[in-house]
Amino acid sequence: MVERKQKILEIKDLKTHFFTENGIAKAVDGVDFDIFQGETLGLVGESGCGKSVTAFSVVRLLDYPGKVVGGEVIFKGDDLLQKSEDQMRKIRGKEIGMIFQEPMTSLNPVLTIGFQISEVLKIHYKMGNQEARTKVIELLKQVGIPIPEQRFDEYPHQLSGGMRQRAMIAMALACNPSLLIADEPTTALDVTIQAQILELMKNLLKQFNSSLIMITHDLGVIAEIADRIAVMYAGKIVEHSDTRTIFFNPLHPYTFGLLTSIPRLDLEMEKLESIPGMVPDCLCFPTGCKFHPRCVFATEICQREEPELTGVEDGHLVRCWYVDKVREESKKIGFSRRLSLVE
């Protein structure tokens, strides 16, 4: 089903640490993944697991005191980490567009919508005012904003949340970037609006033939849009596969936990489970497998040694000592059964 084309982005062993007064926080600690043209990758995890940091590391927009300490980010064959700030600036907005979580705060309140979108065009295409205006109005139309001529001169606070997010999308897509990074783009929106926005994004992606990294903690959103999913926990990817596999054959206890914590019509569960415990503080990760304090399958080895991310099946990578145990448990609930049914 997934049409594999050329690799747009390849992340190798990315390490991003925050150097705080209280110690070094390893927010991203060796992440690998890649993404192909036109493909959508879902990056999933609880808040604080490092998924946003990964995204910001890619475009090098980390807040102080964060710093990329290792790895490579190969974008269209070049390592972004080796680029100068100037070169990066030319890539941001033009080659890589970004959409953020809070449409309320992600737009500058004192500048008009039109100004903010046309700015991208002016920077990267050196467009004049008039030219940019025409183009922006066209973009606004494309993202489904009614009466774009009027909206052009309005301030963000005059727009509703959904409209604002559409404006953000227009801004991100203005230069027709080959990669789009969306950081929880729908979290702050009403459910009905969420669906609209997702639909819009899907359509636009097709239209622009862009790749997307979709960062979210909402598995529902991911199911809707992603081709592949990488599940992150405590700065590391713990499971990585195509969407169906993740949903129907989760092999990491954490993914398993995530899936059982959302209501699903297709499963035979008596009640929703929640994962006990909390995301560990990135200043003092537990030894061994970082998930072991919350893991029902954990044994002594989990405390001692951290498992590698290993391929279990074709393209299905899992970081766990007890893949088999999890698979059995999944079967019990019915994940796998459903998978076979679908096939």
Binding site: R89, R92, G93, E102, S106, N108, P109, V110
Partner: protein, 345 residues
Amino acid sequence: MLSYIIRRLLMLPLILLGVTFLIFCLFSLLSPMERLATYINNPNVLKNPQSAQRLIEKYHLDDPFPAGYIHWLKSLMKLDFGWSSTANQPVWEAIMQRFPATMELVFYSIIPVILVGIWLGVISAVHHNDLLDQVIRVTAIIGWSLPTFIFGLLILFIFYGILGWMPPGRLSAWAQFAVYTGGNFKHYTHFITFDALLNGRLDIFWDAIIHLIGPIITLSYISWAYLLRITRSSMLDTLRKDYIRTARAKGVEEKKVIYLHAQKNALIPVVTVAGMMIIGMLGGVVITETVFTYPGMGYWAATSAQQLDYGSVIGFAVLFAFIMVVGNLIVDVSYALIDPRVRLE
């Protein structure tokens, strides 16, 4: 917006009434004999045995508390602010003579305050926690810890005492002569510097400027540190905002991110503070003017307060309260004009 302005302006008489009443309350703590001191500067006056009693009667010094206040209010109705025995002229005239001088001083002090305060505040925030930030911050705190009277005397000592620049006062004797005598020199604005330029007298302009520099440095030095602090924290706050990240993600140049996207937002609260500060400056020029013998409102207010000249104190307070209320209103309105999110209801 209009109704808001009107509502605020309606508060004005109430506040003025309150202020004058408060001052009268304070002065009513004094006995008639004590109030007499304002009119008896040397004991010779008492050579005439009835003098004390006559003065008390003439100036209504033994009026019981509310009567004195009502008396004052009545004359105010006739736009008579009374007599200032410290300025030796009617209170209203004393204000008109001194207010432009103070305004001129404050006007010129605002420029360095805003330029330096905001500029350094932004730099400090951009270089958050760098050495530069630390240096600017500590300089600001030191500046802010320097009492005006010590700093002012220091400036006077260095720039006039040693270097011989920046004489005290408002004008040199020759310039005073040129400005005050004959009808050649027209007073358009009562700002000496402006009037000098309008009259084409560069020499007087220059003389006025060099007289202003010392007070300006003193007055602005204590204020820019404060504005810097506000700008810095507001800027830090703004730089952490999502839309700044958005701008960067768009590939906007760092300079533009800071000076367009961030500064425009960060300055909104600064405008309010700066407005309040300017208003505060008008009331806070007491020591600066005293040190530099700059003939403005502050100097006069200080003398009046010490000599318990209640007519002058009230005159000053009324004017200041007026400026305060109207000034705050202007600040609020301009706040609404700058920030598209705020609409005064």
